[in-house]
Structures are given as structure tokens and as C-alpha cells.
């Protein structure tokens, strides 16, 4: 099977607030000799609108995404929830439009979350990274429940040299982000992330990681507000052996 060129889908939050995550993903691909491109014109998968009930607006974003990525051989994204959106909700959005529906199914079938692509598609368990320190891992909901991805990131982390993985209590409990939920119901959202933060702190790990920048942004925001300096890194940054925090 010839090597496929990976088309990067850089989730909007990664693009705008955490570009180092995208860069880290690229350096992992470089190290592994995976070819990639970055289709221009990409914006947002439409999740914020979908989760808020604005399915027509989400469908417009979905169509934009499909137009941009249709020619790709394979699409890889450093965010489980966006992949869940593309794979599972795009087809629903076009349930009444057979042509768009089949385009959506085709796009979904070739869209992968970063760790899922490495482990399940490329059968890579060790990316050759080094990361000295203790790390705890948060299972994002859409990644874990929606896509069934929980072992892949752990496999990759366990093979990072120098890294000690310490599991937190209730790693698969929601961090309380929930998109617009976090601003519409801030008190509930903060109470939820507080529990997550407590569980992270209880591990004593120096770093918390995950595969979804939105959850990590929520966790980071609460950690800093509470004056805690646990490092927050997207898994790509660890796999890139890149210890630099956000610039």
C-alpha cells in the first residue's frame, strides 16, 4: 500500500490559540516520514453551531469543510471532538440530501484523530519521543465515548522515553467544557472542571495531557486561575518531545 499524504485539519482552537500543537503534530510526522499537506481555506468543523442547535449553520460549515477536504487521501486532526463531528454528525446533517449525505460519509471514513491514525492506521506504537517527567491523561468525552479512542494515546505515551504515566481518578469524566455550555452555565462548568483539576493535582503529575485542545484549554484556564502551575500539553507536544509551553 503506497504511503498516503496526510491532509492536516488544524482545528480552529489549535490554529488560533495553540498553534504549537499543530507544529508538534507536523514534527512527529516529519520524524516518522509521513508526508502531509495543509489544504488552504479551512476554518471550523461547525461543532459550536451544531452543539447549540444551529444545525443549518453547522451544515453550511460542514459543506465548506467537505469542499475543502474532498480531494484529500486522508485527513488527520489533533482533536477528537472535531473528528467525531465529521464522522458522526456530518452524515446526520445531510440526512435529507442524498448527494451531500454520501459525500459526508466518504469524508467521515477518511478522517482520523491524530493518535488513532498513528496507532490504528500506521501501526506505530512508538514515535521515538523523549519526555522526562510524570504525565497524567484526560479522556475527552467525544474522543473516548464517541470514537472509542482510549488505548491509542496511552500506548503512545507509555512508549515515550523518560515518561511516567500516572492515571488520574475518573479520567473519563467530562471536564465541563461543553462548548457554549461553558459560558452559558459557567458556575456548573467551573464546578465540573474543579473536580477534574482536583483529580489532576492528586496524581502529583507535572503535566496533564489529552487529545482535545478544547478540554485542555478549559483545564488550563482553571488551573491557572487557581494558581496551579501544572503544565498542560496536547499529546502531540509530548510525542514531539517538545517540552516548550505556550509561547
Amino acid at each position: 500500500m503506497p504511503g498516503k499524504t496526510v491532509s492536516l485539519f488544524i482545528q480552529c482552537l489549535v490554529d488560533t490559540m495553540f498553534p504549537e500543537t499543530g507544529e508538534a503534530m507536523i514534527s512527529v510526522f516529519d520524524r516518522l516520514g509521513v508526508a502531509y499537506d495543509y489544504p488552504p481555506g479551512q476554518t471550523c468543523c461547525g461543532q459550536p453551531a451544531f452543539n447549540s442547535g444551529y444545525s443549518r449553520d453547522a451544515a453550511a460549515a460542514a459543506k465548506h469543510f467537505i469542499d475543502i477536504f474532498e480531494a484529500a487521501a486522508v485527513i488527520v486532526c489533533p482533536s477528537g471532538s472535531c473528528v467525531h463531528m465529521v464522522r458522526h454528525h456530518y452524515p446526520e446533517l445531510f440526512a435529507d440530501d442524498p448527494a451531500m449525505h454520501s459525500r459526508a460519509l466518504a469524508i467521515g471514513a477518511k478522517t482520523f484523530e491524530f493518535t488513532q491514525y498513528l496507532v490504528d492506521e500506521l501501526a506505530i506504537h512508538d514515535v521515538g519521543a523523549q519526555f522526562p517527567g510524570t504525565v497524567t491523561y484526560h479522556d475527552s468525552c467525544h474522543l473516548n465515548r464517541g470514537l472509542g479512542i482510549a488505548d491509542q494515546p496511552r500506548t503512545l505515551l507509555k512508549n515515550v522515553r523518560g515518561l511516567e504515566l500516572i492515571e488520574m481518578r475518573d479520567s473519563d469524566t467530562c471536564c465541563g467544557f461543553g462548548g457554549t455550555f461553558s459560558v452559558n452555565y459557567p458556575e456548573i462548568s467551573v464546578a465540573m472542571v474543579d473536580e477534574k483539576v482536583d483529580n489532576i493535582l492528586a496524581t502529583g503529575a507535572g503535566t496533564v495531557t489529552g487529545c482535545d485542545i478544547s478540554c485542555l484549554m478549559n483545564i488550563l484556564g482553571r488551573l491557572r486561575r487557581r494558581g496551579e502551575d501544572v503544565q498542560v500539553l496536547h499529546i502531540a507536544q509530548i510525542l514531539a518531545g517538545d517540552k516548550g509551553e505556550k509561547r
Binding site: 499524504t5 490559540m17 461547525g46 452543539n51 442547535g53 500506521l122 501501526a123 467551573v190 484549554m217 491557572r224
Partner: protein, 491 residues
Amino acid sequence: MSKKPQSQYCMDAKKSMDSPRLQASLHSLQNRFGKGAMALWAEMDDQDMRRRVKKSRMKNLEYLDILLAELAKNVRTRGGHVHFAETAQDAIDYTLDVARKNEVKRVVKGKSMLSMEIAIDPALQEAGIEVVETDLGEYIIQLAGDKPSHIIAPCIHMDRSRIGELFAEKLGIDYTDDPPSLTAAARKALREKLLSADMGLTGCNLACAATGHISLVSNEGNIRMSTTMPPVHVALMGMERIVATLDEHRETVQLLTRGAALQKLSTYVSFVGGPSSDDDPDGSKEFHLVIIDNGRSKILADPEFREVLACIRCGACLNICPVYGRIGGHAYNSPYCGPIGAVVTPLLDGINKHADLCKGETLCGACKDICPVQIDLPRMLAALRQKLAYGSDRWNTRQHNPLEVYAFTLWRLIVCWSPLYRTGLKIARLCQRPFVEKNRMIKRMAGVASGWTDGRDLPPIAKKTFDEIWQEKHATPLPKLPVATKEDNNA
């Protein structure tokens, strides 16, 4: 933009979150029953059972009219009365009529959420009838003049010291917080009521069409006594609560008791199929089954929401939901709380009225995972939000937030046209400058965005977006390298 005034939902939620006592109860509830149910499902030998029961639930909804007719025929054959009530008022009127004919002065109740949905207690009381709950949890709630906060464990928000104080005050016993002593006190008080009641009023967990029985699941036995001791028994049944055969009944009950309390079977499963007779002298002299619609056929008719009628009201979804786990049951302002309540309450009682229930979850999916019949509540929450977003004639729903409608229209324009998106980002990056603090975080924002920054820092838009970095570094296309594939690696 200024901050929205807080809704009742938010205020009630806040109250719960501020109560360490409640937080501790919710925590231990979820730790024990939420985690326990997930472990049960994982260990269950028959891994196909949940899917099978779900399938039968959905099939029975398909043939609901036939099954209900069969049930009614069988109950009537045995001398029971069956009344189909289209509305809550209908059900109340019928029950009041039965009470009047039998000169009922005291009603003992078996736990029934449907009785709360149709608000039958106040109607009975207004008619001068004393109403006594006999389920221990419901009895405590009634004594306290409170509302249930969990569909299986209604007084989960009260700890035993609170119950001790309540019993000391209302039952005139010496204060104790020893559960067996408290239970004994309740038992003594309730026995008197049960022995002297003129009518038993219960719900119905399931009804079996083939045999013409309703079944009631409980652990205390008081529900059974409510069906057998008073001369008249009225059972309120939600019209979707039906199974076709006893085989289906067996499996469905097993999932119900497992989901509710991690039990293979509850202590009591009572079957009632009619009044007592010469060859079956136990039970009430009159049996009335009131089959209630009260908005259910509307749900049944909408393929988007029909699935919610497959619910067997086990309460497992409450035991895992991270939102319920923080805010408890009272914030839902409905007999049905937690994830199931968040879906079924708006459908039964108005989507606009209960907009906060539709929107107040993260869609994390834990409820779907734990549900014994795998009901996709997150999907239906999203569907409810669609009604609020665009309005719906079918559901008599108007657009919830016109401002949000404009915001998402604008959002759509921006994300569908990347030059606008990129320009917008540049402008936002300029505007954020005064807010970015030394540690490169934003600590304070105005308007809706303050929802984030009231409790959390926010990372700013990066000095260079990934897109900008890419344009700089990779303006010329990369050489395409061969890729290591699964086959190569396995070779």
C-alpha cells in the same frame, strides 16, 4: 452586552453546589451506583441483552395501540376497570370519581412519578382526602414538605441527621440518626395508615399485555401493601410502559433493577391483574388501571423523539451525569430530573419553558453509555436545541434567543469564507491586547465572555496562527516522502 439575569435553573443549581452536604451525598451516590452500573454492564455474561431489550421496547412502541388494547381486554376479563386518560385532568377526574364512589377518606400511595407529573395529590387533598406516601423516601419528602431530587432515591439530598430532626419534629420520637431506628419509626407510623386506608394509589413500572398484569418493583414492601390492603387500588400507568410478553417482562425488569440499584432482582416484584376473587382472595376488591397519555402520543408521533419512550425509568443516567452530580435534582424543576428529565420534561411540558434543561448539559455522552436500553439522550438534547434555535410549529416552540440566531448567522458567514475568517482573527488579536496579562493569559472579559473568565483564565489568540506559520514556513510545497504503513510495519 451585559450579563443575563440568572435563570431559576442557574440559581437552584448554585444553591445545590453551595451545599457541602448535598455534594457529599451526590458524590457517594454516583460513586456507588454510577460506577457500579457501568461495571455490571461490562461484566454481564449476556452482552446482547441491552440491545435486545431496547429492540423490544422500540417494537412495542410500534405496536402500542394493539398491546394496550390487549392489556385492557385481559384486565377487564379479570374484573378490573381500565380507563384511558388523554390528559392529566382526565386521569385526576377519573380517580376522584372512583374515590367519591367509594367514600375514600385516606389514600396510601406507592411511589409514582407519574402521580407527580399529573399533580394528583393536591387534587385529592382539595377533595378532603388525606394522602400518605408509603415509600420511605417519598414519605420523608412528604413530611418535610419537600420535592424529590432523584427518580429512584427521592430524598438523596437529605442526610440522616436531617431526617432524624424531621422525625423528631413530625413523628414525636426522640431524636436519633440511627437508620434502623428511623426506619422502625416510619414503619410504625405507616402501618397505621396502611391498615386504615380506603384506597391505594400506585404507579406501574411495567405492564404485560399478554397476561394483563401490571408490575411494581420495590425493596420495602410498602408498595405491595398499598396494592393489597386498601379495598380499592388505582394504578396510574404511562401508556408507554408496556411489554408484550412475560419473557420480555423478565428481561426488562432485570435491566431495570440492575440499572436502578445494581440488583439482579428487587426484593419485591408485585403483579396485579385485577381485583381479588374467590379463587384469588388476596388484593383489593376493586382494581382500576388508568392508562395515561398526557403528551406521550405527541412524542410517539415524532421519530426524532420516540426513542425517549423506551425509557424504563431506572435512574441510572442520573447516577453518572456530571451535571446532575453537581446540581442535584431540584434544579430541573420537574418530577423527572437528570439526563432523562432534561429530555422528557421539555417534551411533556414545553420546550421554551424548560430551555435551560435542553441547553444545560455538555453532551458528554455518559448517560447514553450507562442507560440499560442505550437511549441516545445526547442526540435528543441536540434535537431539542434545534427546536430552540429555529423554532418549531410541531412542538409549538418559538426561537429562544434571537440574538444568538444573529450571532450564528454571522458565524456561518465567517467560517464559510476564510478571507473573512482570517481578517476577523487579526482584528480580534488587536482588540484582545489590553486584556492579555503578563503570564500571557486573559483574566477578565466583558459580556457573555465573562462566563468564561469569571472562573477561568483564557489563552489569547496566538501571535501567529498555525495558518500564518504555515504560510511562512511551507510556502513551497513539501517533498512527498514515502509513508510507513501498517503493512510495512508488520512486514
